[in-house]
Amino acid sequence: MQLFKTPHINFMRYKYVALAVTFAIVLAGVLNITVFHGLKPGVDFGGGTLIRVEFKNPTPVGQVRKSLADVGLGGSTIQETGKKGYEYQIRTTQFIKGADAQQEMEAHEKLADKVIETLRGGSPESLTVVSRETVGPQVGKDLRKKATQATIWALIGMLIYIAIRFKLEYGVAAIFTLTQDVLITMSLYSFTNREINLPIIAGILTIVGFSINDTIVIFDRVRENSKIYRKESLEQIMNLSLNQTLGRTMITSGTVFLTLIALYLFGGEVINDFAFIMLIGTIEGVYSTIALSCPVVLFWQKAFKTKKGFRR
């Protein structure tokens, strides 16, 4: 069975449209993140305490919220997880600024104790603390620094490898493509109510992995076709390559999409956010590889007057 007879879509014609669309989404996202604070750092990056509890008897979320509000902890984020009415995830979001990191840490711990005590309401058996995590302010800062560092080095590594195996402009295009993958995904994610935690970072890294994979498959085809069709312009060759690989792009992404749906539905609370951001990223990744990776190579060649085509 053939999903697509090799189609003849003139993808390259839409290159300016694609750029404009990308630009618009990223701009909206950046505005949302910077002006409206759309990205919520979770406990891993923002610090604070996250407690997961399980009640012995069913307890409606309103009651949980009310008992916390009664002791001045109304600002806490309360989420129902797992077994509805029994399991909750509570993050204290009180703004704590101690004289030093140690005091902040202890203040967070005290808040957590207060939450647990309040919810227990005097009978210790009524509530099990499933997990509790306190992250000091320093760790979040370090984590951000480390993650940034790792990302930059990974990008440089990929750029060099692609520049060697293909050409510099292909490396640049690949990095550009995946940078905008991250930007668009984060932008879209910022419009949801979800937090940024470590699993989300793993998700973004995975999106980058798939995106670079897609991009290279297409570049590989361009590289091959350049040797076969020596008379054609690079733009025509890119169009041909995009069409030839369209079937595999769709099938592969479709498979990944299926996997993610399974994770999203059955993976449990912790994996849910991860699967969600991956779902956004996968759809977006298909768009960016088809619509953006090749045009960037063309733009680069135009701007720097490098030798056209693939041949050096």
Binding site: M1, E133, L155, R165, T252, A262, G268
Partner: protein, 511 residues
Amino acid sequence: MKKGLQWKSIIIVAVLGLAIFLAYPPKDKIKLGLDLKGGIHLVLQVLTEDAVNMETDQEIVRFQELFKKNNITFQTAAKEKPGHFVFSGTAADQEGKTRDLIDQYTRDWDYSFSGDKLAFTLKATVIQFLKDQAVNQVRETIANRIDQFGVAEPLIQRQGSERIVVELPGVTDPERVKGLIKVTAVLEWKLVKAGPAPDEETLLKDFGGKVPEDMEVVRGDASRGEAGLFLISRVASVTGKDLRMVRRSVDEWNNPAVSFSLNSEGARRFEKVTGENVGQRLAIVLDGKVQSAPNINQRISGDGIIQGRFTLEQAEDLVVVLKAGALPAGIRYLEERTIGPSLGADSVRQGLMAGLVAIILVMIFMVFFYKLSGLNAVAALLMNVVILFGALSYFKATLTLPGIAGIILSIGMSVDANVLIFERIKEERAAGKNIPGAIQLGFQRAFSAIFDSNLTTIISAIFLFQFGTGPIKGYAVTLIIGLVANVFTAVWVSHLIFDLTVSKTAKRLSI
């Protein structure tokens, strides 16, 4: 069958067998991270400045002794800040002699004369060394304590220049463990000069309201039932370093207590102090707080007992920290996570469930699109997973939640490799090649795309591993292993199955 095929088959079966051997049974062979297993994860920072401070204090005393012994005049010695102190009231005509003396004694300090002042500054390299040593010693001490406490498979690791990561699987009482790790555990026996008293004024009544130079004021440990302030001698008669043995025992009223015996040197001093001070009180001071201050009824030699209102647990923990020794520098917590075993088990169950559903969906999808050839891809995919787990077990890598994400990416790329190959075979068929030729060409032409895309991702994963922190590392590890296995299964295993099942003269290919 061609000879090459025979060897390939043997190698593949051997790799598969080895992977199964390494990973079976997965329950025992695959190490799960704390997020999947439950336990305590602590990140703590060593206050390395403490070590420098302590060194400074000790050196001031040593220099004072040195100068006194060699008749070098000075009036006071004062610490300005850790690693920096000043002698004042020195005589100008003794400068040469002082220089010789210092140079002979140590090279660790830079010093300079100005007027009647002599300023010492600890060299930067020495500071670095002291800090480094402090972190290592703290790590060892904590490891000792955890060891004494008894935790299966603890991980106590240095991270960066000042941090230590402690991971204790299966432990669910964080407060106790944190207390156990955090106490400095400096134990001292000091003579009580006055007290206990409710405030400093009453305490110092007999001393004219001032603390004499050879004494200090310390607080009683309220939780041990010693309230109030004590005036005690500055110099300890015996310290924790003199302990030969500590054991949990009971006092004469059957309350939990800690009994100890001293080494010969300590016993000698203990005997002297108790012999000379019968009728007085001897304070047992732990981390600057008086635990108890019993009366000295008679001369005591090397054995004794520490009592306070201990619970059984507290007495046990005191034994643990005394056995493991004192921390050379203070610590503070930066991060603490306690994952209950039930949450971990839930994550594993749900992760397995989701993984199974995902794999089954992928299989159905592949068979639907590529018929019998799809089975080929499924075989390669399964083998990929088996090799991945074998390698995880071999490298003793820890499987974490982000690690599962890494596995998903490598499964995705494994499917992609097969899709690339199959699509290529179809194209070659459409271009008029016969079946064996199309298969050969399909593999050949798809190879560069598979190789380049996998290698690029591996390169980025290596950097993530190099620079990332714990969870990101876990992700990178599974990804690297998965992708290497992927190149192997897609290029070799899948190809071999085609070669074995499709005859040279095949007229139809189920793809």
